[in-house]
Symmetry: C2
Subunit: 571 residues, 2 copies
């Protein structure tokens, strides 16, 4: 066994929607020896809102910087103060690398020095100068315009993002800023994704022209693809707005994968956190792509990160043929790991829907013991599939995959005078499961076989009911990632690889990732009912979500009632 002084560690720093989390991981087995979370201080749970613009969601870049200092300093302190007898032999010079993952697309307008405008006094109270959080949907009109213009372009810009460009993404947001706040737009020398900004900031290279841009953010959100020479052409950007052209020139087109080094930790940041200056920092990537690594992704494995929303990631060897898959958020070589296409799908809201329901619609008595989700789950667990006669569409926050349409909303059909809160709660869970199945089907329709599903994220960790419903609806075993912090673990793995501790990501995964023993297996009788319900879901899905169809929905309610009655008799 190696001596204490030989122990090696890696740090993962995970920027979520409401807080930043730092973990220190043992290279030996991927176990977490310390974790620290620092909530953002601005706005509502870290998100800046505007009552007049309900689709707006911003964050203060200062929260990102402060969050790094706080979370990393704290995690180092915790790791160092491990009680005697539990000593893991941690010292800061045992850290081989640092990896960073963030939400996205979360572009930040910066000045010529790379300083976020929101950190400059002139703009510090201006929402449009802040980071435009992924879930900001103010730019839906610009997204539609980009989709429309790109669909007519010779370069098939939409072929790698499901034929639809989203309001959650880079150029939509920038164009919306151009259209609605020219002053901020003009002051922005460039726009930098949060995933790129943090590595840039902590390595001391924030120059927009040279800071490394990760292929993950570039490829998935900024329409970057080598087949058309990197970013979209000047002519295309000019067709959106001539002022966008100059932004193209302040963007380092030598994009990098996250197993590569962005630079070494700069001295000022090292001093503030207790890290060693020069520690290798990996190129940043989005949380779910890093999470997929932390969950042990490989070809044939779908990694579902289920939290407020979901991100569904697969990889596919670049050496094998792959069709462009309509409705996927992205197909990007190297976005998860080198040599593989990273395929990203997702649902715009999952936990957010359950939380909304609990906040707005649930009577007092379900809040007993301050455990409303548990109480509702317990009651919902007693219901049989199909018993409530309810069917919901999981579109309270739009639909990301496969429709890529923010202008969709939630629907509940089948309510009677006896419908209860747990029935609706369960129907909402089922709706998100149907949404998940729709994504799996889309992968497989285009030749990407889903041989295994590994779930991670808060909901996968906490809700056996939800995981069982997912198994029953999808008719597949649902596995759970061993680490509860897959994103941070994935970032830590990238930090370790960029720091040279492993040959590649796969080698690191072998040592550091795995799944839990508990696997949720499909129950055949539930599977049979859900097959029927899914057909109805898909009819509603297509009737409300797909333009230009001509089909009647008449029989939907009849079938729901008939299924309900059948189910009641059968069990």
């Amino acid at each position: 066994m190696s001596g204490i002084s030989d122990r090696k560690f890696t740090i993962g720093v995970d920027y979520g929607t409401n807080s930043v989390r730092a973990i220190i991981v043992d290279l030996e087995d991927g176990s977490e020896i310390a974790t620290a979370v620092s909530p953002y201080s601005g706005g509502e749970a870290g998100v800046l809102l505007d009552a007049q613009r309900p689709m707006l969601a911003r964050q203060n870049p200062r929260d990102y910087v402060d969050g790094f200092y706080r979370a990393v300093a704290k995690v180092i302190e915790i790791a160092q103060s491990t009680p005697p007898g539990h000593d893991r032999g941690f010292t800061p010079d045992g850290i081989v690398g640092i990896g960073v993952d963030t939400t996205g697309s979360t572009p930040i307008p910066v000045d010529e020095s790379g300083t976020p405008l929101g950190m400059i006094p002139e703009f510090e109270h201006e929402l449009d100068a802040m980071a435009w959080l992924w879930k900001d949907h103010t730019s839906f009109a610009e997204a539609a315009e980009i989709t429309e213009k790109a669909s007519r372009s010779e370069d098939r810009y939409l072929s790698k993002c499901g034929e639809t460009y989203s309001s959650e993404w880079f150029w939509s947001k920038i164009l919306h800023c151009r259209r609605t706040n020219p002053r901020v737009f003009k002051a922005a020398f460039s726009w930098v994704e949060l995933a790129d900004f943090i590595p840039a900031f902590i390595t001391g290279n924030t120059d927009p022209d040279t800071l490394p841009r990760g292929i993950c953010a570039a490829g998935h959100k900024a329409m970057f693809h080598e087949s058309w020479g990197g970013l979209p052409s000047e002519a295309f950007l000019e067709s959106l707005d001539p002022d966008l052209v100059r932004l193209r020139s302040h963007y380092n087109g030598a994009t990098k994968t996250s197993d590569q080094k962005a630079g070494g930790l700069c001295a000022p940041v090292a001093a503030k956190t207790g890290l060693i200056a020069g520690t290798p920092v990996a190129v940043g990537a989005f949380d779910c792509h890093m999470g997929a690594i932390g969950a042990g992704i490989k070809p044939g494995t779908l990694v579902k990160a289920i939290g407020t929303s979901t991100c569904d990631v697969m990889i596919h060897p670049e050496t094998e043929p792959l069709a462009d898959i309509p409705g996927l958020c992205g197909i990007v070589p190297g976005s998860v790991m080198p040599g593989y296409f990273g395929l990203e799908a997702g649902q715009s809201a999952v936990g957010d829907i359950f939380n909304w329901f609990v906040r707005q619609m649930v009577p007092e008595h379900y809040f007993e013991n301050d455990a409303v989700h548990e109480n509702l789950s317990q009651a919902a667990d007693k219901l049989l599939p199909g018993e409530s006669g309810l069917l919901c569409l999981d579109w309270n926050n739009g639909n990301r995959t496969i429709l890529v349409d923010q202008l969709l909303t939630g629907l509940t059909v089948g309510t009677t005078l006896h419908t209860t809160a747990p029935e609706i709660y369960r129907a909402l869970i089922e709706a998100t499961a149907f949404g998940a199945l729709t994504i799996i089907k889309r992968f497989e329709e285009y030749g990407v076989k889903v041989e295994e599903v590994i779930n991670c994220g808060g909901i996968a960790e906490k809700s056996p009911l939800i995981m069982q419903i997912y198994a029953d609806v999808c008719n597949r075993p649902m596995k759970i990632s061993r680490s509860p912090q897959t994103c941070a673990l994935g970032a830590a793995i990238c930090g370790a690889v960029a720091g040279g501790a492993f040959k590649n990501i796969q080698e690191a995964q072998k040592r550091m990732t795995g799944v839990k023993k508990t696997v949720y297996k499909p129950n055949p009788s539930a599977v049979a009912v859900y097959e029927r319900l899914y057909r109805l879901y898909r009819e509603l899905h297509d009737a409300f979500g797909v333009d230009g169809r001509k089909e009647s929905l008449y029989h939907v309610m009849k079938h729901l009632l008939e299924i309900r009655d059948t189910v009641r008799k059968r069990y």
Copy 2:
């Protein structure tokens, strides 16, 4: 001025779903001098339920008899004990007549003596031997069968009931009893509507072969129409079930209108209540038809009784042409008053939907001061039409008019992560208003002009918000009946006319009915938004409610969001 001893009164006895109410009314001006309510003691708020058969709703006939004794004895006592100085000169011999109205179709199986089976020891614990309350929907399959067979009959049996026979009605229920409980069916010598049973019982003539059957119940629910010789033919009943034929022979086909006398009060009932034996008793009718009289119905006036459900009644001169109106529950000569077709429409649930929502879906803080409906209304009142982006279908209890389909359910579309309980509450109110408008349009499409709307019932009395939304959605002034007890008042009027105090119902109405000063007038800006929302409602209505269509619903959500945004900008 007439001396005290000349004062004349009439009694109205109103059998609701949960209780029986008796009022004593002054013939001079229709004012109520005393009222008494007696709740039924059986089941849940008077309704017998069966957890295994969720569509079942029965009542114990003993509750009807006991209710009459209790409510009438009490109202006489109250009228007699009027304090000095408020003496209205009431004595029981000043009562010129008694009228009775009831829910319906509420058929009761009776033995050869006319005694309800549920009052006989052998059957007193048997749900199928009880009264089959109007809202019992167990016989939906039989209703479909009757509709199907009647549609193929040479006699156009469905032409007077909107081309669809309902599970709420007489023959559906009897046929369901035949199919599911042959023992009870066999024991039933005849079936008597509650509206006929009470006058029969209190006049001492319960012989099923001779007791007067009111045209209201017969015509609206038992397919009775003189154009095909009264009840449906033996051949038709035989096609449903040969055993139904014998029931036809125990039914007095000389149906009567409610201005006519069923008989004189029998001595035993008089003794139990303090009334005078021999007091004239009018032929019974359904609550809403009597309510229409009490609200002052005349040609061109729609009377809407809005409570847990609605009943919408119009009359049309028999001397003028009238098309058969698809989807109406009934077109029956004389069912409201002689010389006029009584036209009945209605919504299967209105207040029931709001109560369901409050019971199942509303967070604690809206219950402040035990005034949940008021608190939600106050919050909902602050919302602008269209602002929530929500649209509901008001079908939680099926759709009575114009689709006549119990196998429809509620729908809510447009929910987001920010949707609140008051928003849904308002959307549910709007949905019932759209349902109301759909009925008005159907009347007018078939040449029955709606020149005036008079509302009555608990909701019309209590909710200015709902009445204003109805005015805005229907783009018509909403008037409120002066009397809060229009059904009982209408019954009392019929009692007075049957007792000879007035030449006819119209003369009595002139003296005894009227509307309140407060009239809810449409607000043009709200009207404009609701016109747009109604078009969407109608699309959902037709897509989910009408068989065989081929239209896309794709644009519904887009339009709702667009309307929401437009509205927010405009105000």
